[in-house]
Every structure is written in C-alpha cells, then in structure tokens.
Symmetry: D2
Subunit: 269 residues, 4 copies
C-alpha cells in the first residue's frame, strides 16, 4: 500500500461538469488541483460555456482553491483541464503517532467531531476495537482493514446526509463514507485526521471524484484509502478538509439539474 | 447458563413505589408477576396509600397484567407483594431456529422493528457478524457473547430515548439496552425476539426491575440475559413485549416525582 | 371532510403485484380488504402464478388478514380481486377526546411510541402547538391542517427508514409519512392513534396503496387523511396497525425485485 | 435589543476552574478574552496550581486564543483574571443580508453545516418558516423570536451530543442549543452564521459560560442571543467558531472530574 516509484508522476485532468439551471445560480466549485505540498500544477485551463466571469480563491492556510461564479439560467458547462506533477509519496510504514501534548496547535482542530464525523459518539467503539493496538501507522492501517472488511462498498446506498455513525450502523457506503469513518475512528483515538478529495483512476465504478483520508502521523499527513479502489500515490489532490462539507466539488445555491459529471484523469505518457 | 435445578423455585416479591404528584395523575403499572406459562402466583396483595380505586387488566393474548389507577395530588405509595413459583426452566442448549416459512402466524410480528429495536437499520451488521454462524440457539448465545464483550454496562449512561442503534454506536448501556440490542440482532436474522422484564436478584447494582430478552427457538420462547447479571432461571417475569415501551413498569400520564423504587425479590427459604 | 352519502358504497379492487426472485422467498402480504367493522367483502379471488400453496391468517383482535406463501425462484405474480361494500362513515364533527382514565384497557397501547412514531421525542412540540386547543375532534383536524400546511408531499423523498421525527425535521414526505406524523402528535397528546392502510382512488400520483391514520375519539376510531389526496369515506381498508411496520402490504424475507405494483380500485357503477 | 451606550464599557473577569485528575491529562482551554475586534484586554493574569508550564496559541485568522497545558495527576486549579474594554456595539437595526454572490470568500464556509448545526437537514423548515420574510436583520430577529417562543430554556435537558436537530425536535435546551439552532436556521437561509461564546452576567441561572450566535449582515458579524438572558452588548467574547466544538471552554484528553466552575464577570465601577 505504501510502495512508490522514486520518480515524479504526471497526470492529465480533464473534468467536465454540466448543469441545467432554472434560474441564475451561484456556484462554489472545488475542482482545481492543489498546487502545493507534493503537487505542482504545470498547466491548467478553465472553459465556461456560456463564458461568464468567475474568480478563484486561494485559502491562505490550506492552499486549496475554490472557484466561484454566478451562472445564468439555462444550460451551463464547465471544463477544467490541468497537468499535474506529483512528487513521490513515501510515507513511512512505521510513522509514529504524535502524543497529544506534542501536537502542533494548528492541528488540534482536526481532533474535533464534524457534521459527518461524530468521533464523540463513536469514541467508545473506536477505543474498544483499536485502543489496545500498538500506536503508530499500523493502527491506522488496522482501521482501514476493519472498514474494508466490515463496510460494503455499494453505490447509491447513501446520500448527502449520511454520517459516519450511519455508515457504522448500516455497514454500507461509498468512498466518502469510508473516508468519514476512517477520520472518525482516528479522531476518537486522538489521531488528527481529515478528508482528502481529488481525481483518481479506477476502472470500476464509473468516473467520479474520489475521497480518501489523511491521518497526522510522524509530523506529516499520511494518506489512506479504506476502499482500496485507487493507490494513494496517484490521487491528484483537490483539497483536504474537515469532512465532505469542506471539500464538496460543487456547492450550489439554488435548484439545479446535473447533466454531466466527468472528472477524468490519466497518467501522462 | 442453561443449567437448572429440577424442582420448582419459589420467590417472594415485595415491591414499593412512591411518588409525589403535583396534580391528579393517571398511572399504568406493570408490576404484577405473570400468572401463566411457567409461573404461578400463589399469593399476592396490593396496598395503595391513599386507598384509591384501581383495576387490573389481563391481556387476552399475552396473559400479562397491568394495573390502572387515578392517583390524587400529593404523596402516593404502592406496595405489591406476591409469592411466585417458577417451574424448572429447561431450555435445550441446541434448540433449533424455526425456518421463516414454518414460523407460527401469531409470532411473525416479533420480527418487526419497534421504537427501540431498529432491526431494519442494523440488518447488515447482524448478518455480517452472525449470518455465517450455524443456525440455532448457539447463534443467539453468540449474540449475547458479543453484546457482553462489546457493550459496557454502566448505570446512568442511557435514558428513555436510547435505542438499540444508539447502544450499538455508543457501546454502553444498562439491562434494557442490552436486551434491546439482543432483540434487534435476532429479528435482523429472522429469529423472532421480544423483551422480558421482571424481578431479579442481584447484589450490584442497586435494586431495580430487570430486563432480559426472549428468542423464539424450537417452538418456544427461550430467555437470554446478555448482561449476565442474573440467572435466567430466576427472573420472576412480569411481562414480555415488543420492547421496553410495551413493558414499562410505570407509564405516568402527567408530571410526577418518584420518591421510592424498591422492587425487591428473594428466593423463599 | 366528513360528509358522506347515506347509502353503502361498493368498490372493486384489482391488485397485481409482480416480482423477480433470485431464490425461493417467503412473503407476508397484507392486501386483503378488511372484512369487518364497516366493510364487507362480498366476493374475492386470489390468483398466484405459479400456482403455489398459500394461507391466510386472520388476526383474532384486529380482524385484519395476512397472506403467507413461499414463492419459488423466478417470476412470481399475485393478483387479488375483491368487491367490497363500505357502510356510510359518519364520524361526528365534534367527537370528544376520551379522558385518559376512561380509555379502554385494550386501547392503551396505542398511546405508545413505535418504530416510526416517536411520540416521546415530539411530545413537547405537540403540546406547544396543539396543547392549548379545545379538546376533541377539532384538535385532530388542527393537527391535519398543520401537517398539510407544513409538510410537502413529494414522492421519492423518504424511504423505509424515515420516521415521524425525520418528517418533522425535513418537512417532506409521502402519505405514510404524513400518517406517521399525525399518529405521533395524537399519541403525544394522549389521543390513541394508529395507522390505516388500504386502497384509494386518486388521479395523481400513480396508483399505490394509501395510508391514513385513525384517532380514538368519542369511543370510535375516526379516520383522517392529512394528505387530503383521497376522501376518508372511500378508503377500502386493508388493516390498521401501530405504524407502517405492522401493515406493510408486503414483507419479503429475502432479496426480490418488484416488477409490477398496481393496486387498483374503482367505485362500482 | 440593539440599543447601546456610546461609551466604552469595562468588565472584570475572574474565572476559576478546578479538576481532580486520576492521571496526567492534556487540556485545551478557551477562556482568554478575545483581544481584537471591538474588545481590548487591558490587563490579565493566569494562575495555575500546581504551577506548571502552559502556552497560549493565537489563531492567525480568528485572533482568538487557546491555552494548552499538561496537568499532573491530582488536584488542578486554574484562575484567569482579566480587565476588558468593550467598545460600543452599534449594530444597525436594518443591516441587510449580503447576496450570496457578494459574500466574501473567507466567509463562505460559515454557510456549511457542522457537527451541531445540521443546516442541510433543517433547510426546508427554515425556508418554510422564514423564507418569505423580508431579507435583512429583521429576519434574523424573527428567527430569535421563534426560538425564544418555541424552545424552552431548561438546564440539564441536553448534553454534549445534542444537535440543532434534536433541539428543534425536542423543543428544549440551554444557551448553546439556542445558539446552534439560530446558526442552523441562518445558514439554511444562506446567511453566514457562527457561534460566539464568552463571559456574561446573569442572576439566573448559576454562573456559566454563555453562548450566543453571530450572523453576517451588512458586512459585519452581528450578535444575537435567542435566550434573551444577557444583553449582546455585554458579552465578553472568548471566541467565535463554527459551533460549540470549535469554542468549548475546555477540551480534556482523558478522564477528569470537574470540581469548580466559576466564570465570573462584573461590570467595572
């Protein structure tokens, strides 16, 4: 899971989103590949049809970007293309957990429960299942193993209101649900954790944005994918956030019908 | 868990409940020992202070009884005493599950989820954990083992709104919560199940009504206590019902302050 | 809402249900028109394809019937036809509420919360909104008015796990959700209430079983339809129960794909 | 509600917190008065008993501060004293709502649901109740009026897991619950909102930290207190955050028993 080739990998993104809007509608998109950390965007373009104004905001802390625009009524299409280099991701297989008193101040809020990650409610379950395991990266691997073994991956079983608690109870979900549960167990064990979303290649299921999660281990954010659908080395990160609400690929302030969603990515060459 | 002495056991109940009522208040009590099945009530008395009218209803199907009365404002005390014989309870260690198509018609509704037992929500979890086990009583024993190992018994952690889902998520509860979870898992596996409440002896915790559950196995209702606080042979049954709402020892239609709750029981001689 | 013609009305039911079954599957159907109370079934037939054994159970207390059968793998179709006479339903517009201490013993359990009707959780809201209204049928009418004004009827917004609490929070649902909320508010106000399901005529939406609710007023069960989709006089009752779990038109013990659901009803001549 | 005297007000804080710790325990306290915006801390002191190391972190975006320390096993007491000047708070009675497309980028995340504020679930209810009202501050005042009229203030009715949904359903809560519901309704209406906590004077109930909420109106964060327990002008702010999880006065990483909580504040002179 942790192996990586030494050379930088390059990816081409070609993402099209299309909507039918009954009225002028404000959008907040998070589709831009992250430019920072271990990722570099060497080229990118954005096409809007109709060609309307938009602007991109760069978050000063997280370095992720979001796009805002006010689309007119009618058909609206967005196409984002980018070429992204990802430096080799070599996360140590034995990265230690950071004792609570040594956690950096600006990481502390990643211990808190959020809309989709009720780490307070699932605290006892997390401690019962994982509390006695040796501390360190292997404990987060054990969390991923548990999720993979106990939660069924099935498209269409959950919706935008499904939380980690629901996933734990119902035993089924999709990538964002798997990630939420991973985040939740980590936080309950005092391991800071957050959601990471981006572009990923997989044959099955159909093209979609992908969600993984990151745990703070050995002073770094280490990525995990409890769905095992895609290698963590190859996720072209868009953003990391507290949970899916922070990193939704689109937040739409009004009624809209999505006609197209094709967030394609391919390894270059 | 299933051993029993061949002779009938006799128990003396002495149950006092006291309330302070700001206004005239209607009560429905379920405190009478069940007279039927493997239990016989050889003597009983009811004292009310003040001495008011009351009446006892006998449910035509379940044979359990409830007491209704309209208490005036002020202090109100009830004392119920009974002597009860329980025939030896010899439930077979290998009682089989009854295939769904052979279940009696009047037992079918004990497969349905109820207020506190969301067997629909926990269906997948039940099947994942217990679905592959050999069918029969040992599967219900395995459910009890799981509950005992994974749910912490702690007084004061749950309340009248806590359901089996909550207990599963939070990993803590008291006897009624343990019983609800047992009922829920059984129903999810198509084993009819219901709650049983009554009088039980235990040193710790302080005197209280006790809750167990019954699963329909081999054509009979077999009792289980996942708390392991009291032998199932010694529960002096008050009633069996779909869940705690059916068998609450008191349902009070108005504000009331409970001053005394002492549901004592002792093995005779 | 309460007007009715003095003569008996006659209805023809023609209900077809079709399934594709990957394996032999046990079914419990509640599709038989109730024969009792104000309804008489003058003729009925049941066709099963393939022609398999089945049996009908008549509940000794509620008089409603359910059908059980074990269908083989493959296509399975059921057709139920009946002619039903409904006596004029003349529920008084000023039927009184029955004081709690005068409620019949066998009605008391219709005050309890159930899987879909958390009258305990919504007690305060019910009392705040309806507690000060004059007691009697007009109070239940006010409940229906509130539901009709505040809950949006929209097919596809809720599912088999949606409870009255969810409907209250989300403000949207279908007929069963409307009925559950009505039942819940009534119980919270100490008015016994239960769900009633049956066959109803409406142009929109597409043919489906319909759900209403009944409140115990003036010693009788008075029917209410907060959706206002169908006159209460014309519901051909199948069953009344604590909530939708008691009266589901089909409970399927295994995987199945429904191919046809056409519960048609028409007023005869 | 919005009146304010023209001169700066001065407040003296004297806050003592005491704990009994079974083991060395890490704490994150948010008790420091905010130094920034309309507040100035002119003097402050912190006493720890035993005298241990601690450090204060200043959040670069929000300017609020938190204190971290590692307390040894045994008794631990913290005393924080401060003198704070609050400039007159003159929020316009007719501050307009900011159209979504004009909201500042760094305010957008205050539209998102959080652990305690499920604005997604309560969206329809918010729109039904407040959607047709004229936009602007008066709409948030109407939200506060609704909360004050429909939610009962009662200490001890909610706990650390209670969310805005629960408060809406159950109709009861304390100041943090009132604030969560206000935040939730605002976000559902596309008005950015967040929780504000601090020191407040009130005779009843007993001394405690207080919670209000802020809505983004007319380009500024306007404070509201739907409990009406304390004038918004007099809240000595500690912090503003997404919800109570962001601004808890103490987050304790381990078991602890609180012995003393006395967050006193008095107007100087």
């Amino acid at each position: 899971m942790n192996s990586s080739t030494p050379q930088t990998n390059s990816f081409d993104i070609d993402c099209t989103l299309g909507y039918e809007l009954p009225q002028p509608t404000h959008f907040l998109f998070q589709i831009h590949a992250m430019h920072g950390r271990d990722q570099q965007v060497s080229a990118e373009s954005l096409e809007l049809d109709p060609a309307i104004d938009s602007h991109v905001y760069v978050d000063p802390l997280s370095h992720h970007r979001f796009l805002r625009l006010q689309a007119p009524a009618g058909a609206f299409t967005l196409r984002y293309r980018a070429t992204v280099q990802i430096a080799p991701r070599r996360w140590s297989a034995d990265a230690p957990e950071v004792p609570i008193e040594q956690l950096p101040d600006d990481v502390m809020h990643h211990l808190m429960p959020t809309r989709y990650c009720e780490s307070d409610l699932l605290g006892r379950a997390a401690i019962r299942m994982f509390g006695a395991l040796p501390r360190g990266r292997s404990r987060v691997d054990a969390i991923c193993d548990w999720i993979h073994a106990n939660i069924e991956y099935q498209i269409g079983t959950t919706d935008a209101t499904t939380t980690a608690r629901d996933v734990f109870v119902r035993g089924v979900g999709v990538c964002r649900d798997f990630a939420h549960l991973g985040v939740t167990f980590c936080r309950a064990l005092n391991i800071p954790a957050r959601m990471a979303v981006g572009y990923a290649q997989f044959d099955e299921p159909p093209p979609d944005f992908h969600a993984m999660f990151e745990a703070f281990l050995g002073g770094d954010w280490v990525m995990f994918d409890p769905t095992r659908l895609s290698p963590v080395e190859d996720l072209v990160r868009i953003a990391s956030g507290r949970d899916a609400k922070d990193v939704a690929f689109s937040t739409i302030f009004g009624p809209a019908r999505m006609l197209t969603m094709a967030p394609l990515v391919a390894r270059s060459r």
